[in-house]
Amino acid sequence: MGDIKLMKGNEVIAETAIRCGCDGYFGYPITPQSEIMETLMLRRPWEETGMVVLQAESEIAAINMVYGGACCGKKVMTSSSSPGMSLKQEGITYMAGAELPCLIVDVMRGGPGLGTIQPSQSDYFQATKGGGHGDYHLIVLAPASVQEMSDFVVLGFELAFKYQNPAIILVDGAIGQMMEKVELPDYTPRWSEQEIEEISGDWALTGKKNRKQHIITSLEYSAPPQEIFNHKLQRKYKEMREQEVRFETIHCEDADYIFVAYGSVARICQKATELLREKGIKVGLLRPITLYPFPTQAISDLCSKTKGFLTVEMSAGQMLEDVQLAVEGRTKVEFYGRMGGVIPTPEDVIEAFEKIFSI
């Protein structure tokens, strides 16, 4: 049983990284996630676990440092927020192309452009559909609590190394900034050279000794081998879709209507569900935990007994498209969203719900 503390979401990311044996964090300040690097610098994990923490000159440099660290078979991570994430896309696509594991944390704020610093979910497309150039996907985890901020650091590294693919925690500024009770994991030591050899020994840059040279690259000389490699990536994504879908359902068994929402909006919709149930309206909530792979089948399975889905997001409707693809026109899919950093209240959601479904 780990320590139970009252902590801010962003601080928990830093604390869990230290505890789970992360080897390196490379970041650049941006609101609303600066507490991650600040917490690390205050904690000085290099004295405790040997973890490297470095403030880079830009988000571009930070993600390329992550690339360098990941090349060595190390558990490395970065964090940023929306405008900074746009800059990181170059490094992320290189890592997807070089099949390097890492953890990225995106504490989303309102956009486009410099936008606002308030919570938003408008980077769903960027995170789940690739984000940079080329056919690739990230493993996308969407925490809805400070507890999950901790849990998903551990899970994110686990999945990243399982699939040799970058994993991203996609969270809005509300979860990053709020304080909640959290049970932190026990300390796990950083991997030894021996463990790195066992886990990533067939590709990591550990120095050419009694083996063939290792080369980390995303470059191919000609088209046919690149296509073969792209098929390999696609097989990997297919396996993720079959193995790694995570979601939560609340009151969906007898629901006439189902909210689909993730992150902090899922909690707002959970409250709306309770309030509507008190009024005798049978409403449920489906909360995707992995946004990629998306719980397509779970939504599909609920279609036949559902009068309609209401997708609620802090965006103009991005996850909405994945819900529509899952439903395939078999029942109604409606949308309610707020943008630019405005957080909907449960009452806003209920009002929209009653208006949309004429209840």
Binding site: I60, A61, G68, G207, I215, T217
Partner: protein, 253 residues
């Protein structure tokens, strides 16, 4: 005496470094990269650090350096090699980490990364081959292209009003407190090659002393990009490039 009587181990006075792979190099005739690769291979072998050396290749002609030098390599995004090398070096401090970059990679798109890696005093070696042109993409103007020099994007010669001035990035980097050894060399004569070998050897030895960034710029030729024969390229380089980019040590502490 038969030829087989001559070709014997005891008669060998010079041979290819065992770190040079059997892959056929893609570099054009007259290109400086081949010489620099050969020197790196010899130095890594002579220092006996093959097991501890990790190279970071750039985007540009040297992107495939990993095909020719038998060590562990990371291939970085354009200009980002110093950031990649930073993390490799910090996470494996016992290693010898070097970047291999051209003038487009280091002095244009990667300006921020090289500046800040140097300013932090990362314990890395930077091999910077400056041939004043983008070779891989077909001979466009680079930040170090000389005034008046004709390239595919300066077909009327580089004009300072239109294109700005050639940048002496190495002198700039020497100003930063995190660099310990900054030198500019060439590879156009046997003597120059020997000096370059000495400089790169010293740069790698500095890693053991953890003194900060060591930068070896090698002023080189790009016969294909310059559209000159290898011999004419060397003459043009000596006449024009060396004036703007004088050979010698810039900093050594």
């Amino acid at each position: 005496m038969e030829l087989t009587d001559i070709i014997k181990a005891e008669n060998i006075v010079s041979q290819k470094s065992k770190l040079i792979t059997e892959n056929v190099m893609h570099y054009c005739p007259g290109c400086t990269h081949g010489v620099v690769h050969k020197l790196l291979a010899e130095i890594i072998e002579e220092l006996d650090i093959q097991e501890k050396t990790i190279g970071v290749s750039p985007v540009g002609c040297a992107v495939f350096a990993y095909n020719y030098l038998d060590i562990d390599w990371s291939q970085a995004a354009h200009g980002r090699a110093p950031a990649v090398a930073t993390a490799i070096s910090r996470l494996q401090p016992e290693k010898y980490v070097f970047t291999y970059q051209g003038d487009g990679d280091l002095a244009s798109i990667g300006c921020a990364e090289i500046m800040h890696a140097c300013n932090r005093g990362e314990n890395i070696v930077v091999i910077f081959v400056n041939n004043a042109i983008y070779g891989m993409t077909g001979g466009q103007m680079s930040p170090t292209t000389l005034l008046g020099q004709v390239t595919s994007t300066t077909p009327h010669g580089r004009d300072e009003k239109l294109n700005g001035f050639p940048i002496k990035i190495t002198e700039l980097l020497a100003q930063l407190d995190g660099t310990c050894y900054v030198t500019r060399q060439s590879a156009d004569t046997p003597g120059a090659i020997r000096k370059t070998k000495k400089a790169i050897t010293k740069a790698f030895q500095n890693t053991r002393l953890a003194k900060g960034v060591s930068i070896v710029e090698i002023v080189g030729t790009c016969s294909s990009g310059w559209k000159m024969s290898p011999v004419a390229s060397n003459e043009w380089m000596r006449e024009h490039m060396f004036k703007k980019y004088p050979i010698g040590d810039i900093k050594d502490i």
